[in-house]
């Protein structure tokens, strides 16, 4: 019966969140949702396989894990399959999105949603101005 938080690489999908920021996000989520964190799992940088969490689960039997975002889920098919097999019985919490659930379908749904967001076009806010954004809305329409 173990609840763990998982920190990963600083680059999380569209976000850049340092590990101490991830801890703040996850601990605040745990507090708001009355979850008691017993273990902190640091995943290595440059990896989104969640392999460390899977090894820990084999030894410690995790019941709940908290991640900062759905964008920390694996993206490569073989890694996804491993996660689905090994952690199907673990309840996943995603703090920024404020969602939780468990099982194959739940994980696949949020892997898919993460992909949708990663495929969406993003306006670079460092290369625009308020009036350019307004012009964009007027010219390119909203539909």
């Amino acid at each position: 019966m173990t609840t763990a938080t998982i920190t990963t690489d600083i680059n999380i999908g569209p976000f850049k969140i340092p590990a101490n920021g991830q801890n703040m996000i996850m601990n605040n989520y745990a507090e708001r949702n009355n979850l008691v964190v017993e273990l902190l799992i640091p995943e290595p940088m440059m990896s989104n396989a969640l392999a460390t969490a899977q090894w820990v689960h084999k030894k410690r039997k995790l019941t709940k894990v908290i991640l900062s975002s759905i964008h920390q889920l694996p993206t490569k098919q073989d890694r996804i399959e491993e996660l689905l097999i090994n952690m199907e019985d673990v309840e996943f919490h995603f703090a920024l999105e404020g969602i939780c659930g468990k099982g194959r379908n739940f994980l696949l749904e949020y892997i898919k949603e993460s992909k949708i967001f990663m495929n969406a076009k993003i306006i670079d806010s460092t290369k625009t101005t308020w009036l350019e954004l307004y012009k964009m809305m007027q010219e390119k329409g909203i539909r």
Binding site: I116, S125, L133, Y134, I142
Partner: protein, 234 residues
């Protein structure tokens, strides 16, 4: 005028009827249920509005924090106005993951929303905001919206002097008159029109809800999966 033109090229906002009142009433009733205040069989929003007046600032804050955990309000709001949304954004959408339930208690010491552009939060310029009260508005407790021409004029002046949401914008709110709309109506506006609410005198608190939507085919700005979710209209 065509709603799309009204929102993009016209005043930038419009008052629209809620299409599915049955669902919108369900949304209101689910909010009432959360308070667990017994009032016989009838679900009465005014009982909640009155109860809020007696709450301390910390109780109101706790309520706001508790409220962000409810994710189905967004779906209910979007499905309360499906044709309007489809007409503006299509069937495939990004919608706010957790719509806001906003309550404002009369009296100056209580929290209110400053005059602002929705854009300052980093939502896409292709977004719309839908705001609807959970009861009739008979006083100044509602939201006010400043038309696009005036909002843009201020934005241009501010940009020329390197400001955003500066003193001019903040000072404008004292001249504003909120929309007095009924339960069953919503204000919809683009992210470039200035809006907010003013301190008001009333015997009851004001409760409203708001949701942000955009087409799935339009680009995002800074808000991502932390704030939005993919949603397909039925």
């Amino acid at each position: 005028m065509d709603l799309y033109k009204e929102l993009v090229n016209g005043p930038g906002y419009a008052v629209c009827p809620i299409e599915n009142m049955q669902l919108f009433k369900k949304l209101r009733d689910s909010f009432i249920d959360r308070f667990n205040i017994s009032n016989g069989s009838e679900k009465n929003i005014n009982v909640i509005r009155k109860a809020m007046l007696k709450m301390s600032l910390s109780e109101l804050n706790r309520l706001r924090i508790h409220d962000i955990t409810h994710t189905n309000v967004s779906d209910m709001m979007v499905n309360s106005c499906p044709s309007l949304i489809e007409k503006l954004c299509g069937k495939e959408l990004f919608i706010q993951r957790r719509a806001f339930i906003i309550f404002n208690v009369p009296d100056k010491k209580h929290q209110r929303i400053w005059n602002h552009y929705e854009m300052i939060s980093g939502i896409s310029p292709f977004s719309y905001v839908i705001w609807a009260p959970l009861h009739d508005l008979e006083d100044d407790g509602g939201v006010y919206v400043i038309d696009q021409e005036k909002s843009l004029e201020v934005m241009k002046k501010e940009e020329a002097s390197g400001l955003v949401n500066g003193p001019t914008v903040l000072d404008m709110e004292r001249y504003q008159k909120p929309c007095q709309i009924k339960f069953g109506q919503a204000v919809i506006f683009n992210p470039f029109v200035l809006h907010g609410n003013v301190s008001f005198n009333s015997k009851l608190a004001r409760i409203g809800c708001s949701v942000r939507i955009q087409s799935y085919n339009k680009p995002l700005l800074q808000k991502n999966s932390d704030y939005l979710k993919y949603y397909k209209l039925p």
